[in-house]
Symmetry: C2
Subunit: 161 residues, 2 copies
């Protein structure tokens, strides 16, 4: 395997979006991806980018990504969130996920944050196994809550008399 881990460039975004869609299909939400290449470009490559993304580049083919941003914990201060760690299906089991996670943890250490956090589906046993082997703590008592776009609209409509 000959690949390098580096920061994402604008020219990677088409392939990056393909991997995002690939993960959504794997997570059984194929229609959930609303974002476009233009959105990714605007959000990630301006003066105050919303994220920092690393890619695994094998001869200009993007075979994996790790997308991160900082969050604010009222217990710890600034922490690093790993939004997506994706390795293309045909490329799994070759250490690419580890190499990407290594880069993320080095990035966290460079930022001086006190935590790296992310989310995992409880049926994704191989991912959970992988994260635990890396020393992470899978907190099964914490659940994720979403109020989606439709929920926001309904909520607001009830506030207005």
């Amino acid at each position: 395997m000959n690949y390098q881990i580096r920061k994402a460039k604008i020219s990677d975004l088409d392939q990056l979006l393909n991997l995002i869609v690939e993960l959504a299909v794997y997570e059984k939400e194929p229609d959930a991806v609303e974002i476009t290449v233009d959105d990714l470009k605007a959000s990630g490559f301006g003066t105050a980018p919303d994220f920092v993304c690393f890619v695994a580049d094998m001869d200009t083919q993007i075979i994996g990504i790790a997308l991160t941003y900082t969050r604010f914990s009222t217990w710890k201060g600034r922490v690093l969130h790993l939004e997506d760690l994706i390795v293309s299906k045909s490329m799994r089991g070759k250490g690419i996920g580890s190499a990407l996670l290594d880069k993320v943890v080095m990035h966290a250490a460079a930022l001086g944050v006190k935590r790296v956090c992310w989310e995992v589906l409880d049926w994704n046993a191989s991912a959970i196994e992988f994260y635990k082997a890396k020393g992470a703590d899978v907190k099964r008592d914490w659940n994720v809550v979403h109020l989606d776009q439709n929920g926001i609209k309904k909520y607001i409509s009830k506030l207005q008399p």
Copy 2:
């Protein structure tokens, strides 16, 4: 009940930290809070603040807070995260949590984000009931993962030969 919901000010931070500690005790992690008033001031009140916090102010007594910041979803784009929604114990059941959440959802709508997200402990039945009644979706299949400060150190030490 005579209180107003407004943005937090620097002079609120002592009381704000008290509420953060109160929640940590309730969540059975009394020693988890490492943050200080100075940290909160530096992170929340500079030129590029890490969070936007709303407070419930009853005659200069801070009886509740809702602390938010934006995150980046690779499916939806920019979303609003509700890090903490806290109402002081003696003030619960009076609609203050609802008033704070109303403000958060209005803030989300003003930002034009497609989602408000947060996390809840699975044993916190009253909170889950409250959020569901507001139209939120409690995703019991998504778990939170943490690599803490000690975990980051161990991870980095293994990378270096």
